[in-house]
Symmetry: C2
Subunit: 274 residues, 2 copies
């Protein structure tokens, strides 16, 4: 871990009374920096604002977050800055504090190591048993209640398996455990809706903005398994081709390569990938 | 807040790297103490052990928790001791740490003030709009992912409304926001199942153990509204009669009074209620 600022102060602890710890009552963003540049900063701030609105948490000042993000990451040529915003300290009980004073925690990390072979040939995925619960009031935002992802990721420890596919209670494909998912099915580029469960990824939003032909919709597992190409999107890890889902194998396709090029053009060059 | 111990040390902070903060990756128990006596201690430890098993968190030593609970509460004649157990510190990412070192936080609080009138005449309840999502892998245990309860409790701020009724996505009654619910319907004492959502309360477990005639089953809102009596159970607040649910009014009934007496017999006398 690099530097940490808690409410602007260089400490590495939060109060045990913070509702982030007590109830997971908050939000986070993991933002890829290349030096002092964060190509997707404004999309992260947009999602954070939507999360604060939905959870009724006062929105921190974006320019203050930016200054603090630069401060914690300035000794790293490449970094991931995690911004955690909680409802702040509270007494016992779920009721909202009458005068909330949100906490903000900024911490810089070295980016995850990306193996060239994974970016070229693709990742091996499994299908997780855990089914995401349907909670429209929490779907899409990046809140701190992440036990479903923790349990899904705990389903395997084989390091050859890079990711797991998450389905909802109806069996529809939603995403991977820490990335969104796109697939070309019957000629159409499709990504699952995240309005009942799942996270509306910042990289997903970027891809949807530059691919007007991509469609948001329902994706069955059967449809996924007959896709002509599959890739994952992650604001931290970029565009990751999928080589296999369980027994079924895939080849990286033209959309994958085109969007990987777009990713590099944004400023996330391969050399910068950790 | 009274005293705090974090991993046995008298500090009031946890690391920002704690997975309890990062993902709500942990569990808690709120335990009512009368001096150095906690009548439901063993039931709390039983639920904590079940939660640790389900989340694959190493179980803390119960005798150490007991010693620390006495330590944080010893200056209070009456207290609620919150025990929080998290998976401990971790690097970025959902994958379980290879050598988890769970964190434990013990903090003592004054018990909530209970108004005599509420214990006598009963509480006024509303029906919450939020629907609990169905996640069998997290149902029943007292984990730290509590945004649903926070959002449900945020639906009202009228201090005359003491609690809200939570339903699942199918519309079935599950519980209140911070207590379990029992109702006598068609002569039968019924409490909703908590195997798809909701929390298996320690007070609920106590009541089920001493009321062999009580049944766990599905409860529609329509059935609840024609109950002859309704009460809430909370290990911290005891047995609370319900006086109204929205427009519909109720009288505390014989089961409510009998179980309030049982509660006092356990050692939670009314005078001790904060």
């Amino acid at each position: 871990m690099g530097r940490v600022l808690v409410n602007g102060i260089p400490v590495e602890q939060v109060s045990v009374m913070d509702r982030g710890l007590a109830y997971g009552d908050g939000l986070f963003e993991s933002i890829r920096f290349v030096g002092a540049v964060a190509p997707l900063w404004s999309r992260h701030m947009q999602r954070l604002a939507e999360g604060c609105r939905r959870l009724q948490i006062p929105l921190p000042d974006a320019s203050q977050l930016w200054a603090e993000a630069l401060e914690v990451s300035r000794h790293l040529a490449h970094s991931v800055v995690r911004i955690t915003v909680t409802r702040g300290q509270g007494e016992r009980g779920y009721a909202l504090p009458s005068r909330p004073q949100p906490s903000r925690v900024l911490a810089a990390f070295a980016p995850p190591a990306l193996v060239d072979e994974n970016l070229d040939r693709g990742l091996d995925l499994r299908i997780c048993d855990l089914r995401l619960a349907e909670q429209p009031q929490l779907a899409g935002i990046k809140h701190l209640n992440r036990l479903e992802q923790v349990l899904a990721r705990a389903e395997w420890c084989d390091p050859a398996i890079a990711e797991g596919i998450l389905r909802d209670t109806r069996g529809l494909v939603i995403s991977a455990t820490m990335a969104n998912l796109f697939a070309r099915i019957d000629g159409e580029l499709l990504t699952p809706a995240v309005d009942r469960c799942g996270v509306a990824g910042v990289a997903r939003a970027e891809l949807l903005a530059i691919c007007p032909q991509a469609r948001i919709g329902e994706m069955t597992l059967e449809a996924l398994l007959r896709a002509s190409e599959i890739f994952l999107s992650s604001s931290v890890r970029g565009i990751l081709p999928v080589r296999s889902v369980g027994e079924r194998t895939f080849q990286p396709g033209p959309s994958t390569r085109e969007l990987q090029q777009h990713w590099r053009n944004l400023g996330f060059s391969r050399e910068q990938a950790g």
